[in-house]
């Protein structure tokens, strides 16, 4: 079992955003986290990644209890994330943004003899495949909304992580590129990387996810494989519509 939430609770003032959620992420899977707006999905990401402390419950990752860890400690464990509203550095160039998350600040890195650095090459290949290579020397501030989302997604692929949490990676992205990004995620997954994806685009969720968790009013409404979820009456009523 890779990630496990046990009766996790988070309150904001009088509002219970996450109300006792428990589920297990299957090993090696692409897991979809879906549900209506305001159902607690992004808050759940914030709890897993240490951006917010949990109020009750436990979070476990590969046999270790990780609630209470700071965001940088979570990254060191191999879990990274993207944001719904992008957090790129506007004054750095597009290429510089790609290299920021790969910076190694450890003492060992400073004393070791320099190895061949293939990061810029990898960054360029990624930028090329999402159509951003022509902007690599431009400040990231000059990108459109959708392009900024693409940049953030691409830089999440720059980090050697075992688990990637993607928060609405496809919103604002052109359908043709969506299909390409689908392939990226599936490729990376086949090499052992796990994903949890929050997304409202059901075509994507149903085509790439092995397992789906549905949240509603801060609770788990349903869980299962895509075909099961698609036919779940409660999910249809609360989220998918007719």
């Amino acid at each position: 079992m890779s990630l496990e939430a046990k009766a996790v609770v988070k309150d904001f003032g009088g509002i219970r955003a996450v109300a006792g959620v428990s589920f297990k992420v299957p090993e090696g899977a692409i897991t979809g986290l879906i549900g209506p707006n305001g159902s607690g999905k992004t808050t759940f990401f914030n709890l897993v990644t240490g951006f917010l402390p949990i109020d009750e419950g436990e979070i476990w990752y590969r046999g270790r209890r990780i609630d209470g860890f700071k965001p940088h400690q979570i990254v060191e464990l191999g879990i990274i994330r993207t944001f719904q509203i992008t957090r790129i550095f506007p004054k750095l160039t597009v290429l510089e943004n790609m290299l920021v998350p790969t910076r190694d600040n450890s003492l060992m890195h400073l004393v070791r003899s320099p190895k061949k650095d293939d990061r810029p090459g990898k960054a360029l290949r990624l930028l090329e495949s999402i159509g951003l290579s022509t902007y690599m020397d431009d400040p990231a501030a000059s990108l459109s909304y959708g392009q900024s989302k693409l940049l953030e997604l691409a830089l999440s692929f720059m980090v050697e992580a075992e688990m990637v949490l993607l928060d609405e990676p496809f919103s604002g992205i052109n359908p043709t590129l969506q299909a390409r990004i689908n392939e990226w995620i599936k490729d990376e997954n086949s090499q052992g990387r796990e994903f949890i994806v929050i997304e409202h685009n059901m075509d994507v969720i149903m085509s790439i996810c092995h397992h789906i968790v549905v949240m509603h009013h801060g609770q788990k409404l349903a869980e299962g494989e895509p075909p099961v979820i698609q036919q779940n009456d409660k999910v249809l009523e609360a989220y998918l519509g007719d």
Binding site: P36, Q84, D203
Partner: protein
């Protein structure tokens, strides 16, 4: 009524000198129309809306409203003439209540009684906003915030609405409702709609007419359903070919 149109003729625009984002864009919106712009990221779709609002410099070409030039007019002047703009992403004032946000929409109007009257009309159209009237905007769900953003520009009683990605980040059920509201605004209130959508299928289905933008130019145009059925457009811009491949696996 025949001349009641928002039109762009050969518009070229750029954010910085020498880097043209729009190249010779010509299109028209009448008050009977819902027009949808689709295309790749960075194609210039949002820039078309910004050019109309005077938020990006138009270097060549002409933008006019009912025949009168509004090229490079300031946003507040264009709004007073009846063109409202709902930008991309969530732009409500988070710490203000729903009612305060709506009041802000009428900031440029002197007659505050009229603002109140219009807020009541908006509450009739979006009952959910009436129910949350005293709630701070940041506590609203994504769909409610999108309705608040649309409501906020309706305070000015616009003749045209420019909406940048109305379905962004919305759950499927809510997305459908937002497009229904947009159709109602057009059919019942005669508000001409020019919207940008990445959710191209639903956007074009809701629209009367669509334009496909790529690299700052209009590549295709046609009735919404015609564009959706065009094999080339599906393959190039709607993820058609790749989507099939995904489904097979």
């Amino acid at each position: 009524m025949a001349t009641d149109k928002l039109s762009l003729k050969d518009v070229e625009a750029s954010y910085q000198r020498g880097v043209k984002i729009l190249q010779s864009i010509s299109l028209e919106v009448s008050r009977e129309d819902i027009i949808c712009l689709i295309g790749p990221n960075g194609a210039g779709k949002s820039t078309v809306l910004k050019a109309i609002m005077g938020l990006v410099n138009v270097e060549r070409g002409r933008i006019s409203l009912n025949g009168e030039g509004i090229t490079n007019s300031k946003a507040n002047q264009t709004m007073r003439r009846g063109v409202s703009y709902v930008p991309q992403g969530r732009t409500v004032f988070p710490e203000m209540t729903v009612w305060e946000n709506l009041r802000m929409g009428g900031f440029i109007l002197k007659d505050k009684e009229q603002v109140e009257k219009r807020i009541e009309q908006i509450y009739e159209m979006f009952p959910v906003l009436k129910h949350s009237s005293n709630r701070k905007a940041y506590t609203l769900s994504g769909g409610e915030q999108q309705m608040l953003e649309m409501g906020r520009v309706l305070v000015l009683d616009p003749k045209y609405m420019l909406i940048d990605e109305p379905s962004l980040g919305l759950a499927p059920k809510i997305r459908k409702m937002i497009f229904e509201k947009i159709r109602a605004l057009n059919r019942e209130k005669m508000i001409g709609i020019l919207m940008v959508e990445q959710n191209a299928v639903q956007g074009l289905e809701a629209a009367d007419f669509g334009y496909v933008l790529d690299m700052g130019k209009i590549r295709f145009q046609g009735r919404g359903v015609e564009l959706l059925e065009d094999e080339g457009i599906r393959r190039l811009y709607l993820g058609g070919g790749d989507a099939k491949k995904v489904k097979q696996t």
